[in-house]
Symmetry: C2
Subunit: 206 residues, 2 copies
């Protein structure tokens, strides 16, 4: 789709919000969450940077809006992990997983995941959410007790995303029908193992 | 899309093959692989049943063509499981997983998964492939040594589909870059656990 880059300020009109979101999605996908400034996004969208703050608040909030996720999962993950032992973190994570995924945001979350898995540009954005928000939340809460968190987090993600696929997309039984306690008992220990198994030899700079 | 149901025979023309595939996809999605006969599909497509055999051979082969999967995974799974101990089946499965997924069918497989996860009708078809072909392959090879295979298979699927998502769609590091031996060592034991953990209390009729 050909589009002409606009310059100069534009005041708040019905298209401004979606113009900002479109610019944010393109830049986050092309250059990454970390390296794109609010000013760059404003320039790409052809609006004054203050308008981004007006519509979205922080860069984090703009990012959540850009990927259309109904809430920020990072504080949820942090809340689960900061209380209790590392030894049963997987079980607590499974209870939180069910509370979130079987809760009021279910349809919206499923739409985000379906889109993220089917469109490469959105997959990239979901990876950024994971690497820069969720891994960081795990590091902030378990970093003093668990080593190599980015490595462990990628294994945990391989189980948790697979649970989303098996339970909510493919609806494989009995995984689709189990309650939180049953998932904590069966899949929780997998996550516990990924938090404790030796991984030093798997890091890329080893 | 409005379409008029055709009746009577039609000889082989360039549209016949896609007409049969379309009818097969609709019926498999609506009624399930098991309950749909080749005759029903022929009727829905408006062709003589012999034409289906001519174009696709067996019902299994028609199913694989309908979901556009480049090969049948069931014999691959059976080949891996029928040799060796149950105790390290997960490790062998991970070696086979990498051989298949990092092999020449990679792009086609990824396209099948992306489509299956984004379109509900195709998710249903992938579930049927899993339940009727892959679970059956596991039962045929491990059924005399492992109980409750459909239950265990749904947990294994939750890890293996998640590995596809983390490694090939989201490309999370280091899971995206690990070799077969490293995945066998880290994710293999998860599958082994799903093959051996107590699951009697999770079955639906308990």
């Amino acid at each position: 789709m050909a589009r002409t880059k606009r310059t100069g300020r534009r005041s708040g009109n019905p298209d401004t919000r979606s113009e900002i979101l479109g610019a944010a999605r393109r830049l986050f996908a092309d250059e990454g969450f970390e390296s794109v400034s609010m000013r760059r996004i404003a320039g790409e969208a052809g609006v004054d940077p203050s308008l981004i703050h007006h519509y979205f608040g922080s860069k984090d909030e703009l990012f959540m809006a850009a990927i259309e996720i109904p809430f920020d999962p990072a504080p949820e993950v942090a809340a689960v992990l900061k209380t209790g032992d590392v030894a049963d973190a997987g079980e607590r994570l499974m209870h939180a997983f069910v509370a979130i995924w079987d809760g009021p945001h279910h349809e919206k979350l499923l739409a985000v995941v379906r889109t993220s898995l089917s469109k490469p540009a959105m997959s990239y954005v979901l990876r950024q959410l994971f690497e820069h928000r969720i891994v960081k939340a795990i590091e902030d809460t378990l970093g003093d007790r668990v080593d190599h968190i980015p490595v462990r987090a990628s294994f945990i993600a391989s189980q948790v995303f697979g649970l989303v696929v098996a339970r909510y997309i493919l609806k494989l039984e009995p995984v689709a029908s189990l309650n939180a306690g049953q998932l904590a008992e069966t899949i929780g220990p997998t996550i516990d193992r990924y938090l404790t198994m030796p991984v030093e030899h798997l890091t890329r700079d080893s």
